[in-house]
Symmetry: none
């Protein structure tokens, strides 16, 4: 069962953080079609945010076609975002785990690591196909 961690004070709305974390779990295959998300109540207990805020996030994901809210039952994943190449035992995954380990051992903070990756992504995008503007920065809610 996914566990959300809300960073109040990051400036990012709580419901956006829930959506982002859920999407990430879907991409990694941690969450799969049919899996149940925690109930609003459970999230409230774990994060101290308001149930309405959780439901707002779940509703947004429902409209994006990712999950289904069933009254009386719970919220369930309806679509996978898993990618070939991102499996738990894939080479790419083993490599990044190794790289991250060395980076952190070097003394780099989490934010440094993410900055390095973002820079690499930006560089890649500038090299290849610089006419793909929608794929930069945080992914849209599918709007």
């Amino acid at each position: 069962m996914i566990e959300y961690r809300i960073d109040r004070g990051s400036g990012v709305p709580a419901y956006v953080q829930i959506v982002e974390q859920t999407e990430r779990a879907l991409r990694m295959g941690t969450l799969q079609v049919g899996d149940k998300l925690p109930t609003a109540r459970e999230v409230v207990e774990a994060t101290a945010i308001n149930p309405n805020t959780v439901l707002r996030a779940y509703r947004d994901m429902e409209q994006a076609g990712l999950v289904e809210l069933r009254r009386g039952l719970g919220t369930f994943v309806t679509r996978s975002l898993a990618r070939p190449g991102a499996e738990n035992d894939s080479p790419l995954r083993r490599e990044v785990t190794d790289w991250v380990t060395r980076a952190r051992a070097t003394g780099l903070e989490r934010a440094d690591v993410l900055a390095l990756v973002t820079a690499a992504l930006d560089a890649y995008d500038n090299e290849h196909d610089s006419t793909r503007p929608g794929d930069r920065e945080r992914k849209k809610e599918d709007a």
Copy 2:
């Protein structure tokens, strides 16, 4: 000169995006002490956001001690966040660039890449020192 890209519709406030991108540039050494940030007017032209929003971001960063607003002159970096190991020609950087290139060539989207890295970071944090709660998720704006 740093160029901001604002993703309207990401749900993340515009001024937060500016701060995040600036911080990232500081960590990477792309921006260094003494460097000038674009004027509000320049940012407005490039991003179509309101000048007040840019100034709000700059003011936040000034309070965080990262930049200095000099009236009539512009906004200048006053503190470095550069890290040894994150230099442009460091091994870690060459490796991540290579890894990102292969990941994207495999067909992974930007969001997939970030999900992979985030998962690796979470795994690392769970292994080492699981009692370090403040270093998870997005870094706080500090103060």
Copy 3:
């Protein structure tokens, strides 16, 4: 400017009624791309529902790609649902106006008229292409 009428006690959520009425105006061409919807405050004054409820409806329509919420400016139509054949001066429209007039003159209530049309629609659907289940009953929110 569209004016919403909320029927409390119909059992249909207020935000759904707003969405339905807006969609209808888009289909009829009463609302066109670029048109401004009333502000949440204006709707509140006219209907005595809570501003959050109005915003919920507007947000839903934004996610459906029908309108755009611009902070500080208002909410604007971004997509037309107008259909050729439904113009103000089209034969179909003149005919239905005439038919409705006669139906109501006969003593039929609004609900009777809608029941007649719904029955005719059902009959038509049963005759033609009975394998088109999604087009029956109220239209989905585009989910």
Copy 4:
């Protein structure tokens, strides 16, 4: 025997949809006094909604004086809402059937057709007797 079609995702509560569809059948004469409604079990099989939800709808209609629940026997219509002019072979009905056929043949969707009729009804109400506020929008569940 009436067949209910529930549109989950329309935002309209399931029990309201049952009541609306039953009322419509009563107005059209499709259901007449003495007719039996499907059992909760039959509705459940056809629509995959919970039996309690069906019973809730039936109870609401019983309170409205439309049907009678006889334990062990079933639910029966006790009041007609049929209108002269809405009979199966009435001119109005033949005309609307013809009009709907042409409208749909033109490419208009079900929702377009309903939007056209609603617009015509609104126009009629605005012309005649604009001081009859209760007869607009969806008819109340009464009581």
